[in-house]
């Protein structure tokens, strides 16, 4: 019983940590990018200030829009559920809700659907355009996710993320095995596509030829926009943390201890910060791909994932 309570506590700590730091991570990525481009930048706390400002504003509602308030809350709920399910701090999971990868992917897709419906609900050309592109990318990303996951689960014999992470902790050599590397690169590309970063989507553009994410939330305002932004940051934060934990599982708590939890928190923050800064630096040198070149990128990531599976058969 007490083990369950501690696990639940740890899940709560994990949610709190990501909730607090997801906007800071966004601020850090923007700051890194600004500095590399020779600008001063707004500081790492700017996203938090934006959220506070949005919370204080009144949301606007156009005639005919029905779910402008409900869908952002649903999206936030899906993002939080995603954070609660992932093994970011510890490898022990809730007994009733194991962090099964298919469940995790479904929760991720629930968020994808919520934001696409938000775009369609607005009843504008932009909203529909964003939703259409978003769903097309999501549909093409799905095979890569599942095949990469399959590749990672073959050596462990289960699709539970925590089992995969702890297997990597126990056998560090598997992290740099070709199977693992190929699958990780594929997963990384998928995370970039699914969360709308360069080169798939440019998070800082409002040009109709290129935008995906921004097009869907163009009509949202006030706290609705706040939730959507917060949820998207949380989602990217959680997925980056997952990739970081798969690539470098060290620091994740296996045997429960207060000090170990603290170390795990510090390690998680460091890993995500390094990965985020790396992505931000990379984005400085990237231009957005043409929308109809994106499938080629995704096909490339799929081939990597497929190679990973093939490699795993060769090594087993």
């Amino acid at each position: 019983m007490s083990a369950t309570v501690t696990t639940m506590l740890l899940v709560a700590v994990q949610c709190g940590l990501l909730l607090a730091l997801a906007p800071v991570r966004v601020g850090l990525m923007r700051q890194v990018r600004a500095r590399l481009e020779g600008r001063a930048g707004a500081g790492v706390l700017q996203p938090w200030r934006d959220l506070a400002k949005l919370a204080r504003k009144e949301p606007l509602r156009a005639p005919g829009v029905r779910f402008g308030g409900a869908l952002p809350v649903l999206l936030m709920g899906a993002s939080l559920l995603l954070v609660a399910l992932l093994p970011l701090l510890q490898t022990a999971t809730l007994v009733a809700v194991p962090d099964d990868l298919f469940v995790v992917v479904s929760v991720l897709l629930l968020g994808t659907v919520a934001i696409a419906l938000l775009g369609l609900d607005s009843g504008t050309a932009f909203g529909g355009m964003g939703a259409s592109r978003h769903m097309t990318v999501a549909a093409l990303v799905e095979p890569t996710i599942l095949v990469a996951v399959y590749a990672l689960s073959i050596p462990v014999g289960t699709s539970n993320l925590s089992a995969i992470v702890s297997a990597r902790l126990d056998h560090p050599a598997t992290v740099v095995a070709p199977v693992s590397l190929l699958a990780l690169v594929a997963l990384f590309i998928v995370v970039i596509a699914e969360t709308g970063r360069l080169p798939v989507d440019n998070p800082s553009t409002h040009l109709e030829l290129t935008m995906i994410h921004e097009a869907m939330i163009l009509e949202s305002s006030g706290r609705d926009l706040g939730w959507v932004e917060y949820a998207s940051w949380l989602r990217l934060g959680a997925l980056l943390a997952l990739v970081a934990n798969l690539a470098a599982p060290w620091g994740v708590v296996q045997h429960l201890h207060v000090l170990a939890v603290l170390i795990a928190m510090v390690a998680l923050v460091l890993k995500v910060a390094v990965l985020g800064a790396a992505i931000a630096s990379g984005e400085v040198f990237l231009a957005k791909l043409r929308l109809f070149r994106v499938p080629e990128l995704l096909a490339g990531s799929f081939v990597l994932a497929f190679l990973a599976v093939t490699a795993s058969y060769l090594t087993v």
Binding site: E58, P59, L60, V73, A96, F102, V103, L140, E142, F292
Partner: protein
């Protein structure tokens, strides 16, 4: 007379009652009386199916007076597997009958329409009860004839109905022909027409292979697999909606039942290539079906193609089970077969709601083209809720029945056997195909729900839409509740599926695997969840829902607090994007929604586009009018059936040379025939 036999006879009696009511009742009361009797028949099917699933046995046998001194009998003796499918058909039929009380007006509510619906459902419920080949083929044909009449119900209103009816009749009889041939081979090889005797007879070798191929083609045609799927996207849209719901949710499943019956009971333990044959049929069907569904804008056609996809997924699970069984991996074989049955039940639940919902839209707006719907969540809130839940189920999102079923399928798949080279190459490909299918299904049903119910109305019909009457909303809401309930408590479906596979007659490799391991490999986990101890995984959607509620509650609270301080303000134009957002021409349509996908799969779909630009008189640079038309043909139909039909036409033309209407020529033929007979006799 056992309780089960009473149930079987009760179905016959209630069908008779429904037909009588349909013929005798005055027009205003006909839908109520005939629909009510059909509803009762469906419920008796549910009860009988549950009894059979629970292990009760009973035999109803009737002599067939064929003449010629043959002693032919037809026997109804449902086993557990048949019980599950009878339960399914009865439940779908009952919901559709309830819906028909409010829906069946005009041709669908005519004497013929109401009577044919009862006969169709009777055939449907008795196919899985059949205990021998004769009964199976008779009830199968009853089902086929009933549904053909119903497909033709609205032939007076639209021209396409006749062509749809013709396609459907041709394909369904093609199916029957193959089944007849397949069962004939079985009966000759097994020296009996009773399923029990055939199962005990252990037919093997070439005869078994031949029978398997013939039966698979026959059942695949009924199940709507590519390339014999062509009747689905024609017959489903043209039939009245409660009929298309039953056809798609239950009748197509009889094809699945047939395949499962063949591989677990009649011909268990088949060689490896059987599994590969089924897989090779199933995977392309899943992908092709959903790709066509994702780009079409006709709602009922979309649902029809999605049926092809789902049957593809179900049979791919059956194929995985067969492959695993042939390499002796009984745990995976059991789980995969359970996954197939769970997918079947789940698809029946959500597809019933989707077709009935599409019928409600058609009823309220007189439109079934998504491009002309929109904004219906305001005018039809109850239908919208039910349709939305069913869309979640079709997209396999938590916490619906589709999610749980697909989860079991994926578990079976990643634990699938990798011991030999062929499977190890096939499995990742199979996973990728299923994943792409799932992704496209997501897009398809976001499109179906988002375009039909959200944004603003795109046609006069959609603007003046109103919520449909009570029996119709009750039917879709009951269906949606089932989708959610089976998603929250998938343990129910899993246990039922595992029980169904424990049929007394199930023997052999696949059978043995499922018999021993389905019970061991599947159980209800903590609470109502599904546990797969055989491969070490469990899923408890109820706990997942509780966790989701727990994390969402603070968000709702914060939103509520903020909303108290800063209420929403209504404005005409939030962000106008040119200031013309009031025009219903501005929102994306279903065609534009799928446009990026059509581009990505350009080579596979080969759309024909017609773009006409009219320039203004003053200057070529000013555009006065643009018209855009896109047409997506079914490529399989185009490249496979059109040439075949053209060839048949030519053969017909050649035959006409002999038959030119000249009396002299016919007399000449008779004379030659007489000569030939005389010569033959004299020889």
């Amino acid at each position: 007379m056992s309780l089960l036999e009473v149930g079987l006879v009760a179905q016959l009696a209630l069908a008779l009652l429904a037909v009588t009511a349909a013929v005798a009742a005055p027009t205003p009361l006909r839908p109520l009386l005939a629909g009510g009797a059909t509803l009762l028949m469906g419920l008796s099917g549910v009860a009988t199916g549950a009894l059979a699933l629970g292990g009760r046995t009973g035999i109803v046998s009737a002599p067939l007076t064929v003449g010629l001194g043959l002693d032919a009998r037809m026997t109804l003796a449902p086993d557990r597997l048949g019980g599950l499918f009878m339960l399914l058909a009865g439940a779908v039929g009952a919901v559709a009958a309830l819906y028909s009380v409010g829906y069946a007006r005009g041709p669908a509510g005519s004497r013929t329409g109401c009577a044919a619906f009862a006969v169709f459902l009777l055939g449907l419920q008795l196919v899985p009860a059949s205990g021998d080949v004769v009964a199976f083929l008779l009830t199968w044909e009853l089902m086929a004839i009933g549904s053909t009449i119903l497909v033709l119900a609205e032939h007076g209103r639209r021209d396409q109905v006749r062509s749809a009816g013709l396609w459907y009749a041709a394909m369904t009889h093609l199916s029957f022909l193959f089944l007849l041939a397949g069962f004939a081979v079985l009966t000759v090889a097994g020296h009996s027409s009773s399923f029990a005797a055939l199962a005990a007879g252990r037919i093997s070798g070439d005869q078994a292979g031949l029978a398997f191929v013939l039966l698979t083609i026959g059942f695949a045609t009924k199940a709507g697999l590519v390339p014999v799927h062509v009747w689905l996207p024609r017959a489903h849209p043209e039939a009245p909606s409660h009929v298309s719901a039953v056809m798609s949710a239950a009748m197509v499943k009889m094809g699945v039942y047939g395949v499962v019956l063949t591989v677990t009971r009649l011909l268990p333990g088949g060689p490896r290539w059987w599994g590969l044959v089924v897989l090779a049929l199933a995977l392309p069907s899943a992908l092709y079906g959903i790709l066509q569904a994702s780009v079409t804008s006709d709602l009922k056609r979309l649902l029809a193609y999605s049926t092809t996809e789902n049957v593809g997924l179900i049979l791919s699970a059956v194929a995985i089970s067969m492959l695993a069984a042939s390499s002796g991996d009984s745990a995976v074989a059991g789980v995969a077969m359970v996954a197939a049955l769970m997918l079947t039940v789940s698809h029946a639940a959500f597809k019933t709601v989707l077709f009935l919902g599409a019928g409600a839209l058609l009823h309220a707006t007189a439109e079934r083209d998504l491009d002309r719907l929109g904004g219906l969540v305001r005018s039809m809130p109850r239908t919208a809720v039910a349709f939305g839940v069913a869309c979640l189920g079709a997209a396999a999102l938590p916490v619906t029945s589709g999610f749980a079923a697909e989860w079991v399928l994926m578990q079976a798949r990643i634990h699938g056997d990798s011991r030999d080279q062929l499977t190890s190459a096939l499995l990742p490909a199979a996973i990728a195909v299923v994943a792409l299918t799932a992704g496209l299904a997501l897009l398809t049903f976001v499109k179906a729900f988002g375009i039909a119910f959200m944004a603003r109305p795109r046609s006069p019909g959609a603007t003046t839409a109103h919520e449909v009457n009570r029996p119709m909303t009750a039917a879709v809401l009951i269906g949606a509740a089932a989708v959610l309930a089976l998603g929250l408590a998938p343990g129910l479906t899993a246990t039922a599926a595992a029980t169904a596979l424990r049929s007394a007659g199930v023997v052999g490799a696949v059978g043995a695997a499922t018999t021993t391991s389905a019970a061991a490999a599947v159980g209800t986990g903590a609470g109502w969840g599904v546990a797969l101890p055989g491969i070490g995984a469990h899923l408890d959607p109820l706990a997942l829902t509780l966790l989701a509620l727990a994390v969402t509650l603070p968000v709702v609270l914060v939103t509520w607090l903020l909303a108290r301080r800063h209420p929403r303000r209504d404005v005409d134009l939030v962000w106008g994007g040119g200031g013309v957002r009031t025009s219903p021409r501005m929102p994306y349509t279903a065609t534009s929604f799928a446009e990026p996908l059509v581009r990505v799969f350009d080579d596979a779909l080969q759309p024909t586009r017609d773009l006409r630009v009219t320039h203004a008189q003053e200057s070529r640079y000013l555009v006065q009018e643009v018209s855009f038309h896109q047409h997506l043909d079914d490529r399989v139909e185009k490249s496979l059936y059109r040439p075949a039909i053209a060839m048949l036409d030519r053969a017909g033309d050649l035959a006409r040379l002999m038959q030119n209407g000249s009396m002299h020529r016919y007399l000449g033929f008779s004379f030659v025939a007489l000569l030939v007979v005389l010569v033959a006799v004299a020889w």
